[in-house]
Symmetry: C2
């Protein structure tokens, strides 16, 4: 399948979400999926439905809502991952079938080391399984993708045989993963070239790349694969994913875009959406983007200021290979102040992609006024943090009703916390800690009593200026063991929960973030009713 169009297959919601602590709530996943659709990805892998009932439900929701756009835009392909077993394929189909364009993605390892140590299967068994399971998936779903896991370390002749089997059984996309991020661009390019030259039937199929960044070569390997003839690239926003992550969506898209005369290839991505999606994913996963990250890092275009300010360099091209506007970098604009009215807020939120009903607008307006009392000017970033904080919290088991803290160099940091519990009653506790956050968390623990370990805690200022809104992300792990099935390793992994909170008071933001994570933990560990995903019935934010 030769053309000059490269399909972008985004797996932020599947392989990206697999990175430690990146787990998102169902509402967050839906919001990311909507943004990916707006970004223009051709395919989105929405999850691994067999991982848990929550995961299946989240994929089904995305397939239903994002897979059937009501505004006449072409529906993206919604894909669900499955191991090469019937149970997984059934669950994947159940999850993706509501989409206008559903796809089932099956994988099975083909390297000797994986077949021997992980699968404990012979080559013949692998061939038979591929044939049976791809055929089974194809009997349910018109589009089937197959991945030979650890293809980079597989015997090429056997690999061709496996791929031919998958094609005969109905697969139309053959995805070649460099599972452990081990190959060089030369090797990965040769691998793809070898497959295209030696696999019977491949001319009617899409060959796809799936690279990992363990040696910092994911982007180069993906481009080498594309140059060798692959026409689908599996990527994640910000390059998140297990270990050193996956190929970055933004790097592939902008390399092809910026170097069009060299590669002569296009994608369907609206590049001006890149920065917005990058921020959304970073906020919801809590995985920070380093300032020196290509394309989406905060410094990626930072030298701009100096040059323009100075006016010494007339020709922008001297130090610039792409315009910040192309990837949607905009200056934080001062949009609203304390005298702005409800209508101004509604209009600005709409421009930012949030279409609120009256009820939610009232709530948002109240929060906006509170913020405007404290902070002179409210920027877009403030508004986004405010809306995200309001609408994308998990189901609230415990809600923060009041917090009072004293700390400093001289005393004993003390926090008094008042929470409204699941029974609607207020509970109050005070605690002393090593600092204000520790004291607050101890007081919360004294009420909530859900033993957990704090794995990560990060605060950053959302906006410039000393009165900035602070955003806190935390990651916790329940000590009583909630687990989730890992697709590739086929084992249960301890589940971690992220929480996120924003406030001009970082101690308050810290309390909100911790409560959000604890509430997720409580929902999943069944302490409070069925392990449903947080209800999104009340969620009226539309993009």
């Amino acid at each position: 399948m030769k053309s000059n169009y490269v399909r972008i297959f985004d797996t932020t919601l599947r392989d990206g979400e697999q990175s430690p602590g990146a787990s998102m709530s169902s509402a967050e996943k839906l919001e990311v999926a909507r943004s990916l659709a707006r970004l223009g990805v051709d395919v989105m892998e929405a999850g691994f439905p067999a991982a848990s009932p929550d995961d299946l439900e989240a994929v089904r929701r995305i397939a239903t809502e994002v897979g059937n756009p009501s505004d006449g835009t072409p529906p993206p392909v919604i894909c669900g991952l499955a191991r090469a077993v019937k149970g997984d394929i059934d669950k994947a189909w159940e999850a993706v079938r509501p989409a206008a364009n559903p796809r089932i993605h099956i994988f099975l390892a083909t390297s000797d080391i994986h077949m021997q140590h992980k699968l404990r299967m012979s080559r013949d068994q692998v061939l038979r399984t591929v044939e049976e399971m791809v055929a089974y998936a194809y009997s349910l779903c018109q589009e089937v993708e197959f991945s030979p896991e650890d293809a980079g370390r597989s015997d090429p002749e056997f690999l061709y045989q496996v791929l031919e089997t998958a094609i005969r059984a109905g697969a139309t996309t053959l995805n070649i993963p460099d599972t452990v991020g081990y190959t060089t661009p030369e090797e990965f390019g040769s691998l793809i070239r070898g497959i295209i030259e030696n696999t019977r039937g491949i001319e009617g199929c899409f060959v796809s790349t799936h690279c990992h960044n363990d040696l910092g070569l994911a982007t180069a390997n993906t481009l080498a694969g594309i140059q060798a003839g692959a026409r689908q690239a599996e990527v994640t926003v910000n390059g998140i994913g297990e270990r050193a992550g996956n190929t970055s969506l933004e790097e592939i898209v902008m390399a092809l875009y910026t170097r069009y005369p060299f590669y002569n290839l296009t994608t369907g991505i609206d590049t001006t959406q890149i920065c917005r999606v990058s921020k959304l994913v970073s906020n919801y996963t809590g995985i920070v983007v380093q300032p020196n990250k290509a394309i989406v890092g905060s410094n990626a275009f930072a030298h701009e200021a100096g040059i323009h300010q100075d006016g010494m360099l007339k020709n922008q091209q001297t130090y610039e290979i792409m315009r910040p506007e192309t990837v949607g970098v905009t200056q934080s604009r001062l949009v609203l102040g304390k005298h702005s009215g409800r209508h101004a807020l509604k209009v600005r939120l709409y421009e930012l992609g949030y279409d609120l009903n009256d009820d939610d607008l009232n709530k948002a307006f109240q929060r906006f006024k509170n913020l405007a009392d404290k902070k002179k000017t409210i920027t877009d970033a403030d508004l986004e943090a405010l809306v995200a904080d309001e609408f994308y919290q998990p189901r609230e088991i415990y809600a923060l009703d009041g917090l009072q803290v004293s700390c400093g160099t001289m005393g004993m940091p003390t926090a008094t916390v008042r929470l409204r519990g699941p029974d609607g009653k207020l509970q109050i506790q005070a605690a002393v800690g090593t600092g204000p956050v520790d004291a607050t968390y101890k007081a919360i623990d004294a009420i909530v009593k859900a033993p957990s370990t704090l794995l990560e805690f990060a605060i950053h200022a959302v906006t410039e200026g000393i009165d900035a809104l602070g955003e806190v992300t935390v990651r916790i792990q329940g000590t009583n063991g909630s687990h989730k099935l890992d697709a590739q390793k086929g084992i249960e992994q301890p589940r971690t929960f992220g929480g996120h909170g924003a406030d001009t008071d970082i101690v308050v933001a810290s309390a909100k973030a911790y409560l959000a994570a604890l509430n997720k933990l409580l929902v999943v560990t069944n302490h409070f009713g069925p392990a449903e995903v947080p209800s999104v019935q009340a969620l009226t934010v539309k993009v």
Copy 2:
């Protein structure tokens, strides 16, 4: 110069330090230089001495101390950058001459776009300047390196001519920069190959690569250059640098190491030092490393835990291409508690690389005891934060004497700050803010009166656990305009100042970090005596 040894030229202290907000104090630079020497870099570019007297002094100090190791280890080459003008070369020579192996690195742009818009020089003028200036540098210093800036966009024939001129004038290392991060691996490899094949006299020289990561291809481009015959790679720790940064030292070293059978090339790097240096540079520059950064990100080896814990996968190689120990990843060890004595602290600090005299040990022990009162177990990370906080602060113009804060959801966040000023007197101020940190910063501002803008504010937990030591980094810019000469653009850039503080109370840590940044600002803007670098006379930390 063909061999299978690739020289690692580290420019963390020059090109890395040029990233916004990365500016380090002289003491911090010296400490990074020591760590780079221990890491085994062949050459370190210690700075751009013409940028400011501070910068010259910092390079001279590194040349003197790190360039002449007293323990018999081979001295690294200490290099100073200079534009192709006499004044710069004189300053570079003054700075590097105390080193056992000094080098002057001269650069001049050779692309039409740069010659026309930045240099306003003709090709002839560029050739004449290269000849004169390289010869002048060679008359002072035995080792001269020359870089044709923006080589990637230069006319190849002219480029060969420039390089031949530089070689005839005495240059022995020819460094080829992809200044704007625009090339693909194929293009950069061809560029290097073309230079090696077409430049007379190049066979006796080292060809070097200097790549930027704007399209996420710096590592691949550098490797392509090495495969084409380059035997020096210019890199930075964590890939820091302007915009999307430079090639990452750790990615190049580990790609060559892990894929030795493919590349058949070695470096002199002690890989087990990589993580330690990575952390040091991240702490001192305040530039965070994203969790999914290759080699040094916190998740790079994170799946390990699951596997070992589970014990299901017998063969480690299934998902592992390098061992965490190889790059110095160690578990945070619980080393000391409140009953540990002074000797235990001294021994552990020595093992971590800090050799304190009695005075400093007493101070450190006092701080250790204070911390141990608050925190049950003290880990290596705690100790390193504690020592860094104690010894690598800039000259203290204002010192924090006391802080008292109250905040929460119910009241008005209020801070009372007591500082000891340059006259030794205590001053006290209270302020109300949008949160505890804002209130604290406003109270500090009321005393210090050095107008500045807060550009960045980040907090992270140093260690796991709710009672973690919090580390805060801030970046400010003086509103009264302190500037610094930018090497490449030849223009004065607004100078930014980073500060860093650690405490179990994040509000206290925030106050310390802000004061550290303000103190740097005050020292440089000459408000307090000569613009000396912070005195390191008192610094007895040895590594």
